[in-house]
């Protein structure tokens, strides 16, 4: 083994320096690990891959109702909701721990839309009345939410928001809306007097048309929502719509990153198990460096994504000013990790890997769903660098 050169040591020394800070506790706490472990046990029992597959193969459903109920009974929906609003009053890190396990199990439920987006939006911008009315229902699993922003291909921009609210009535179209096919309420980005605002819309009201969409991931639902003079209630400050939407996206990005890390870990495990049990030319395929190094690369990306997600979790929990940058880093890293793990897991499985009957493609589909639902990695890279410029300028 060649020893370390001086350049290297210098790099390491400097790196240690940049790593400075007080950090003595950069991991889940014992309590959080216990919660995470319980969540895994629960999901291993209640959400084996067969459950996901049944949603995949059933064109009529986009989520597993009984799993949704069971998750509600666990109190996870309200994990990060204050006790006064019927939640457990835990912190953001606890929710991250749950998210990682949900991602591992590919849980086919509208958890992200309801909790990461709508509940976070309410906590962030809701009036006491709005919180008191909706958060307890969300915590109890009585209400499914969805977050409706874009209307066409491409990134979310102010100019792209055509939906209009006039005198409290919403008219326009949102597509795609994750879980819009089953949601009870929607947080909608629309313009009132030309200024973007967030609105709370009950989907059982007049003028709501839903069209279920065919997507790459049938284990999660999506819809086109059309509104014609539908009653809409302002959420947050007038004209703050874009800023609020971005704040919600930042929080969701961190939580989604944990789901992605969980999914990427599971894909790596699947590849590893196959590589250990599949023989070619009289050897385990896992004994070939082409496979060994492929899996090592997956591992590396997963660990980088996990570390970036941890920092995001801290920023989320501490409500730190670093959140926008930390969220962008967590998202970019997690999108890359899950996509890479999912596609190389298929490759590791060879011929079986691209058959419908083997589970690989379910991870591949979910990697795209999670990678696009809060906006794609490309847009988040631009956000990240913009944040970097601000920080360097400061």
């Amino acid at each position: 083994m060649v020893s370390l050169s001086r350049e290297e040591k210098t790099v390491i020394i400097r790196a240690k320096a940049t790593a400075g800070g007080n950090i003595m506790d950069f991991d889940f706490s014992e309590d959080q690990k216990f919660l995470k472990n319980e969540a895994r046990k629960f999901l291993d029992a209640r959400c084996p891959i067969a459950v996901v597959r049944s949603v995949l193969d059933d064109a009529e459903t986009s989520y597993d109702v009984s799993l949704w109920k069971a998750v509600a009974e666990q109190g996870w929906l309200g994990a990060a909701i204050a006790e006064e609003h019927g939640g457990l009053g835990l912190g953001g890190v606890e929710l991250c721990a749950i998210a990682e396990e949900l991602g591992r199990s590919l849980a086919p439920i509208p958890f992200a839309s309801t909790v990461y987006f709508v509940a976070e939006a309410l906590k962030l911008a809701g009036t006491d009345a709005q919180k008191t009315r909706w958060l307890p229902k969300i915590a109890a699993g009585e209400v499914i939410g969805c977050f409706a922003t874009v209307e066409r291909p491409g990134v979310l921009t102010d100019a792209g928001v055509q939906a209009r609210v006039d005198g409290g009535y919403l008219t326009g179209t949102k597509i795609p809306v994750a879980d819009g096919d089953i949601a009870d309420i929607a947080v909608v980005l629309a313009k009132d007097g030309g200024r973007a605002c967030l609105f709370l819309v009950e989907l059982d009201r007049d003028g709501v048309t839903r069209e279920t969409l065919q997507t790459l991931d049938p284990t999660r639902g999506s819809a086109k929502l059309t509104f014609a003079k539908t009653p809409a209630e302002l959420l947050g400050e007038e004209g703050e719509g874009m800023a609020l939407a971005e704040s919600v996206l930042n929080r969701a990005a961190v939580l989604l990153a944990f789901e992605q890390v969980g999914g990427a870990d599971k894909a790596l495990e699947a590849a590893k198990d196959y590589a250990l049990n599949r023989y070619a030319f009289g050897r385990q395929i896992g004994s070939y460096q082409a496979i060994k190094h492929k899996l090592a690369d997956i591992y590396i990306k997963n660990e980088l994504a996990r570390s970036n997600a941890y920092y995001g979790a801290w920023a989320l929990d501490a409500g730190a000013a670093e959140l926008p940058l930390a969220a962008a880093a967590a998202r970019v890293s997690a999108c890359e990790a899950f996509w890479f793990a999912a596609k190389e897991n298929i490759q590791t499985h060879g011929g079986m890997g691209f058959t419908w009957g083997v589970d690989c493609h379910i991870y591949y589909r979910r990697a795209q769903q999670l990678g696009l639902v809060a906006g794609g990695a490309k847009a988040w890279k631009e956000r990240l660098v913009t944040q970097l410029e601000r920080r360097n300028a400061a």
Partner: protein, 406 residues
């Protein structure tokens, strides 16, 4: 380097163009739907027979076997010209590209006379039965058992990844006749009648939704010893003849994809402005372009070699490795451009009829079918660069004693 024909070439090309103009359907740009629907199968048979009658099917094969009795440069020219037309899909490729040439090389006289002409004319279609569930890339791991019974053999087992098994008339089948000798020594090749009731085909459902392959099961299939192709225990050597031909078939190349993604970019905005002005996209397009063009010109080099009657260099083996990864990367990039909208796979709603969503789901199969990226890199490293084979633990062991994890 010259794009101009010699007088002979020009004359032949003119003759071919005239014939094609008179006989071939014109290209519509539509991608043929594959042999799953049988009408297009009939079209294919008709077109093949037309070509055979005119001496344009298997141009370099002897006339007495239904070929064109022509030179290799003529077959290159015909290929170039035919490709400009929307000809029916080619279900004969595996038969004429792999199986029948194997019969012609190692089969007995009777078989040659029986099979070559009908195959050339498209009257009979062949499939190749090598891969097995336990084998995958390891063709020599075949376990389908052929037991001698007097003048016949009794075959039991399963094959997989067989293209066109369900519409084929005959198949070239690799079997295990002696498990007590090393794997490469105990195999024997047969031709079989795919319509025999002892042969069952089941389509394989792929993640893309398509079913391009079959599993094929044999239950006490009885074949005559005269159906043997090559000697007993020589199956591996025979299979190499077949696979050598497959290599050449693998062209690859996702030419023109850059145009499509540029089209997509014209209707999309990034956070920084119009996507067509996005240098991150532009540089990727440049990278994809030089790869796709590089493959195209590599095919030109192959065609040049063929037209000079030389065997093409190994450059032909790089096609699929490059084009499959390119397809996957381009599709993923396109979806990132579409952003949230990218998840929609409904051709009536997604941009460009969801072609990038389709490509995304098809790409993983492309990286595996016809030899995985890893196998192809091994082939390049070993056959092209002359690097050592991987360490083999299964060479001098009796087949039945090779570890399988089961």
């Amino acid at each position: 380097m010259d794009f101009n024909d010699t007088p002979d070439e020009a004359a032949y090309r003119a003759e071919v163009r005239a014939w094609l103009a008179a006989n071939a359907p014109t290209r519509t740009g539509r991608i043929d739907s594959g042999m799953e629907d049988l009408s297009s199968m009939d079209d294919a048979r008709v077109w093949q027979r037309k070509k055979a009658d005119a001496g344009y099917a298997c141009i370099t094969w002897p006339k007495e076997w239904g070929g064109g009795g022509g030179a290799s440069w003529q077959s290159v020219i015909f290929g170039q010209e035919e490709a400009k037309f929307e000809t029916p899909g080619n279900p004969f490729q595996i038969g004429l590209g792999m199986c029948v040439p194997t019969v012609m090389t190692v089969g007995n006289q009777a078989d040659k006379e029986r099979f070559v002409r009908p195959a050339v004319r498209g009257d009979e279609i062949w499939c190749q039965l090598f891969s097995e569930p336990s084998g995958g890339s390891d063709v020599a791991a075949a376990r389908t058992r052929a037991l001698r019974d007097g003048d016949e053999w009794v075959i039991n087992g399963q094959k997989v990844w067989t293209s066109g098994a369900h519409y084929s008339d005959f198949g070239l089948l690799l079997t295990r006749t002696d498990p007590d000798v090393p794997k490469h020594k105990g195999m024997t090749m047969f031709w079989i009648d795919m319509k025999d009731p002892a042969v069952e085909c089941r389509p394989i459902h792929q993640m893309s939704g398509a079913s391009n392959f079959n599993e094929v099961y044999f239950t006490d299939l009885r074949v005559k010893d005269s159906q043997r192709v090559g000697g007993v225990g020589e199956g591996w050597r025979v299979s190499l003849v077949t696979l050598m031909n497959e290599r050449l078939a693998i062209g690859g190349g996702a030419g023109g994809g850059h145009r499509t993604i540029f089209k997509l970019a014209q209707d999309i905005a990034t956070l920084a402005g119009p996507a067509t002005k996005d240098s991150a996209l532009r540089e990727k397009i440049a990278d994809w372009y030089v790869q796709a063009e590089g493959l195209k010109y590599t095919r030109y080099r192959t065609q040049t070699a063929l037209s000079r009657g030389q065997t093409p260099g190994p450059e032909s083996s790089i096609g699929k490795v490059v084009s499959a990864a390119l397809m996957q990367d381009m599709a993923n990039t396109a979806l990132e451009l579409e952003d949230q909208f990218g998840i929609i796979s409904d051709p009536d709603m997604a941009p460009l009829a969801a072609s990038f969503q389709t490509a995304l789901m098809g790409a993983p199969g492309m990286r595996i079918a016809g030899g995985t990226d890893e196998i192809l890199r091994n082939i390049i490293a070993e056959r092209v660069l002359g690097l050592p084979q991987d360490i083999r633990l299964d060479k001098d062991v009796a087949f039945k004693d090779i570890p399988t994890g089961r």
